[in-house]
C-alpha cells in the first residue's frame, strides 16, 4: 500500500462522511449536540483540500497531514480524537513509501492507543473505541492468518460496523451523551458510527 492508496482512503473517507453527514448528525441529535456530521464533514473537506494543495510523498505524511487538519478544523471532540489517531498512525508508519498489511495493523493499533490516551475511554463506554478496538483486533487476526490485504480490511470494516451497532444497548460513560445517563440507552453512538464509516472507506480504498 503506497501513498496513492492512503490518499485514496482519505478521499473515500471524505466522500463517505459527506454522504453520511445527515445520518451522523441525526444520531448525535438523539444523545449529543447534533453537530457530529457537520463537524466531520467540515474536517474531511479541509483534509481533501490540504492533501490536494500539498500532496505528501509518504503514507505517513498523508495521515499526519490529515490528523493535523482534523485537529484544527473539526471544532468538536471528534477533532482532537480522530486527529491524534491519524497522527499516531502516520508516526507509526514513519518514512516508509510502501506499507504492508502488518504495518497498517500496527499503525491502526497506535491510532487506537492515541484515542484511548487522550479521551480515556474503555471499550463499553459507548464511544468510537467500541468500533475501533474490534476493528484493530480483526485486522491483526486476519493479517496473522495470512489473508490478502483486501480480506483483512474487509474483516476490519465488518468488525467496526458490528462494534458500532453494539453500542445501541449501552449506557454512555464518556462524552456528552454520558450526561444523559440511562437515557443514552437505545441509540447508536455517533462516534462509533463515524469510525465504522472510516473503516469502510479503508476497505473501499483497498478494492480500488
Amino acid at each position: 500500500m503506497d501513498t496513492r492508496f492512503f490518499t485514496t482512503w482519505m478521499e473515500e473517507a471524505t466522500a463517505a462522511v459527506r454522504a453520511g453527514r445527515d445520518h451522523l448528525t441525526r444520531l448525535d441529535a438523539a444523545i449529543g449536540d447534533a453537530d457530529h456530521g457537520t463537524n466531520l464533514d467540515r474536517g474531511f473537506t479541509a483534509v481533501a483540500e490540504a492533501l490536494a494543495a500539498r500532496p505528501p510523498v509518504t503514507p505517513g505524511g498523508v495521515l499526519v497531514l490529515a490528523g493535523s487538519t482534523l485537529i484544527r478544523k473539526v471544532g468538536g471532540a471528534s477533532g482532537p480524537l480522530y486527529g491524534i489517531a491519524f497522527r499516531e498512525m502516520g508516526k507509526s508508519l514513519g518514512e516508509a513509501t510502501e506499507v504492508s498489511a502488518a504495518e497498517l495493523a500496527a499503525a491502526l493499533e497506535a491510532g487506537l492507543a492515541g484515542i484511548r490516551r487522550l479521551g480515556g475511554a474503555e471499550e463499553g463506554d459507548k464511544t468510537m473505541v467500541d468500533a475501533l478496538a474490534p476493528a484493530v483486533r480483526a485486522l491483526a487476526l486476519a493479517v496473522q492468518e495470512g489473508g490478502t490485504p483486501e480480506d483483512a480490511l474487509e474483516a476490519a470494516a465488518a468488525a467496526a460496523e458490528e462494534g458500532a451497532k453494539a453500542t445501541i444497548p449501552l449506557q454512555a460513560r464518556k462524552g456528552r451523551a454520558s450526561y444523559l445517563g440511562p437515557r443514552s440507552i437505545g441509540h447508536e453512538d455517533p462516534g462509533a458510527a463515524s469510525t465504522a464509516l472510516l473503516l469502510a472507506a479503508l476497505r473501499t480504498a483497498a478494492s480500488r
Partner: protein
C-alpha cells in the same frame, strides 16, 4: 506571573469569564480567552488556544482551564508538563481562584492548587 487561558465552547463565555477573573483579582494578571470555533460558532479551536497560550506566557508557566468535552481534549493536545498544565476545575470559580493566586505571584503549581480548591469551597 503565571498566565491563565480560559477555554470554552463559547466565545462570549470565555471572554466574559476572563474579564470577570481580571476584574476580581484587581491586578494585571495575564488571563486570555479562547472560546468558540475559528468562524465564531460553538466549539473549540486549537489555533485560538495555541495563540492564547503564547499571549499569556511570561515564562512562569500557563494554566489552562477548559469548560468541558472538546475544550478538555484540545487542552490536552497542548499541555506540556511543567510549563502548560490543565486544571480540572469549575470554570468560573476555578478561573477567579487561579487569577487571584497568579496575581499574588504564586508559581504554576500554586496557581493550579488554588484553582483546584475552587472545587470544594462552598458558597453557602
Amino acid at each position: 506571573m503565571v498566565g491563565i487561558v480560559l477555554i470554552s465552547h463559547s466565545d462570549g463565555l470565555a471572554s466574559e469569564a476572563a474579564e470577570l477573573a481580571r476584574g476580581i483579582c484587581g491586578v494585571d494578571v495575564p488571563v486570555a480567552a479562547a472560546g468558540g470555533t475559528d468562524d465564531g460558532g460553538i466549539g473549540t479551536s486549537v489555533d485560538k488556544v495555541a495563540a492564547a497560550i503564547e499571549k499569556v506566557d511570561q515564562g512562569d508557566g500557563v494554566l489552562l482551564i477548559p469548560d468541558l468535552g472538546s475544550s478538555v481534549l484540545t487542552a490536552r493536545l497542548l499541555e506540556s508538563p511543567g510549563s502548560v498544565v490543565i486544571a480540572d476545575v469549575p470554570f468560573v470559580e476555578g478561573a477567579v481562584s487561579a487569577a487571584v493566586a497568579a496575581g499574588c505571584g504564586a508559581p504554576l503549581d500554586g496557581v493550579l492548587a488554588a484553582a483546584e480548591e475552587a472545587r470544594t469551597i462552598r458558597k453557602m
